[in-house]
């Protein structure tokens, strides 16, 4: 059942005030966060000030948005004016944003209350939420396991009940994979449907802000609140955004669900089993299963890394310590030397590697073979999906090949880690919306997640299909730490 609607009802019927609700969450955070490290910055004063304003609004206007007075958390790469936005990096450890992200502003305008900023892999690059400067976040189902990355803090917080909902960012699966690891819901929207203004950019043509929530209904409510054209982001579409909340009927008869072997091939047995059970559910409700082929999917990850690294290398040039950010304290012989020392000390190893690779792929001698080729192949993949969506309404797949891995887990090779993104990265590459939700329980009670991916602007269809499943088949997950969501 929708947490947001549940709380909103309590607030509007006066059973609890926003300040009280916020205080409850702050207490929970105080108790549980030391174990989870989901939040890297809790802001009690800020939250309570917002909550009291909401109480004023709620006392006069019962028809305000369901988000009014309900607390939430933001991934620490989303800017809020006057507050630190660190991206869990030494480079921005003491940096304070001078403006608020558009999507966040939309939530604030609707009366959202911000409890604090959550943990992420440094600069949102990573799959296990263990590269940030504030230490790793932990999975509420098993504290030795990763909550996923890069939005691991978000997933951990929602999963453990210390944030009703959060906003994360998804560049190559960074909200969907953590959602799967922690048994929660995440929706990566169609590229261009949510403003990126104020999202500290990683890869410009892949990044999207994504709601991460307990239920599908909550995802729909939050998405409806943050989507829309923004004059501050030229890539957002000007169109009519139909509210997805009103499309949650639970009706999936004659829904055409595509399945691709490519997405199943690298997954663990238990993952495949859970996903296939979901398929059975949909069939039982009158949906059709269609086999789809994506001929170029095997190139998806190389393309994603070439283009992603290239964009990162260009976006990160600005971190030189001159206008903001970390500044070296060592002696230097000229400006370039100062900048070099600053970047060498301020940026983590993963960042450095992607910057280096990006420069390689964009350099004169390599541009044609790598960047340009990858760009052409990107169109091939877009066409593959476009063709597939002529025969089906959405594609169902696992999110991650396995359930959550141990925080100690170090892949043998870098590339081995990349293969874990095989199901989630294509959506970023092609700008497609994708919903991740829990579909099963693996060994040791760890959550297993599935993904529903659709054509541009099919959020309504995806959320409805997810809603249908969640209504009847939501796995009974029990985190080892955390609280249930009744008050």
């Amino acid at each position: 059942m929708s947490k947001i609607l549940y709380y909103s009802n309590l607030l509007k019927t006066g059973k609890i005030s926003s300040s009280e609700l916020t205080k409850i969450y702050l207490d929970r955070i105080e108790k549980l966060n030391p174990k989870l490290n989901a939040y890297i910055r809790v802001l009690p004063e800020y939250a309570l000030a917002q909550a009291s304003k909401c109480d004023e609004i709620l006392s006069k206007d019962k028809s305000s948005s369901p988000l009014t007075g309900v607390p939430m958390a933001l991934k620490d790469n989303l800017s809020v004016v006057g507050l630190h936005t660190t991206c869990c990096s030494k480079m921005l450890e003491n940096f304070k944003s001078t403006f608020t992200a558009s999507a966040v502003k939309k939530l604030f305008d609707k009366g959202a209350v911000m409890l604090g900023k959550t943990n992420l892999d440094e600069f949102a690059m990573g799959s296990y939420c263990n590269t940030g400067i504030f230490g790793p976040a932990r999975n509420p189902y098993d504290l030795e396991k990763s909550p996923g990355g890069s939005s691991g803090g978000n997933a951990s917080a929602v999963s453990a009940g210390i944030a009703p909902y959060t906003l994360g960012t998804d560049t190559g699966g960074s909200t969907r994979q953590p959602a799967s690891y922690c048994g929660i819901v995440a929706l990566k929207p169609t590229y261009g449907s949510v403003s990126r203004y104020g999202l500290l950019t990683l890869a410009s043509s892949f990044d999207q802000i994504a709601p991460m929530t307990s239920t599908v209904t909550d995802c729909a409510i939050v998405y409806d609140a943050i989507c829309g054209h923004d004059p501050d982001d030229m890539m957002t579409f000007k169109r009519k955004y139909e509210p997805t909340y009103s499309q949650l009927s639970g009706e999936v008869k004659r829904l055409r669900i595509g399945i691709s072997d490519d997405f199943l091939s690298s997954s663990s047995e238990e993952t495949i089993e859970s996903v296939m059970k979901a398929v059975d559910f949909y069939v039982s409700k009158g949906a059709e299963i269609v086999k789809v082929k994506l001929p170029h999917i095997k190139y998806a990850l190389p393309i994603y890394y070439i283009l992603g690294c290239a964009e990162i290398s260009s976006n990160f040039g600005r971190f030189d310590g001159i206008r903001y950010g970390y500044k070296t304290s060592l002696q230097y012989k000229d400006i370039d030397d100062m900048i070099t020392k600053t970047r060498t000390e301020g940026l983590g190893k993963d960042i450095k590697r992607r910057i280096m690779l990006g420069i390689y792929f964009l350099s004169k001698q390599n541009y044609k073979e790598y960047f340009q080729k990858a760009s052409m192949m990107r169109n091939e993949l877009i066409r593959d999906f476009s063709n597939a969506f002529e025969t089906c309404d959405l594609i169902l797949s696992p999110t991650s090949p396995t359930s959550a891995v141990s925080l100690d887990f170090t892949p043998e090779t870098i590339v081995e880690k990349y293969y874990a993104d095989a199901c989630v990265a294509p959506a970023n590459l092609c700008g497609l919306p994708a919903l991740a939700l829990p579909c099963g329980i693996g060994q040791n009670g760890m959550p297993i997640g599935m993904q529903l991916m659709g054509p541009n602007f099919s959020e309504g269809t995806l959320l409805n299909a997810g809603y249908a499943f969640e209504k009847e088949c939501k796995p009974e997950l029990k985190p080892s730490i955390g609280v249930n969501y009744d008050l």
């Binding site: 001078t98 579409f237 690294c309 206008r323 070099t340 390689y360 877009i382 090779t413």
Partner: protein, 95 residues
């Protein structure tokens, strides 16, 4: 395999320095990823390069002045600046 020369040139553009040990490690990691990326070379395509979606020139922003950031706020993340300027010391140590 990435050559030492290529690596040094890239590091110069990246404005990042590596110790000898770090260089070797980074070169190895990079070579692994480049190898992985080489997969695109096998692919054949007739499609043009990806072009972002398009808008009309009519839809561009109107030429109306907006608000600027107060200088103090602007400089607050860089240590305050001096007399309204961002300052860098060209050699020596950051103060």
């Amino acid at each position: 395999m990435l050559t030492r020369e290529e690596f040094n040139s890239i590091a110069e553009y990246a404005l990042i320095s590596f110790s000898d040990k770090e260089s070797l490690e980074m070169m190895k990691d990079m070579s692994e990823v480049i190898n992985f990326a080489n997969k695109v070379k096998e692919a054949h395509t007739d499609l043009p390069t990806y072009k972002s979606r398009s808008i009309s020139a009519e839809e561009l922003r109107d030429d109306i002045p907006g608000e600027c950031t107060p200088v103090d706020l602007l400089l607050s993340n860089s240590g305050g600046g001096e007399d309204g300027f961002f300052v860098i010391k060209r050699r020596g140590k950051n103060e």
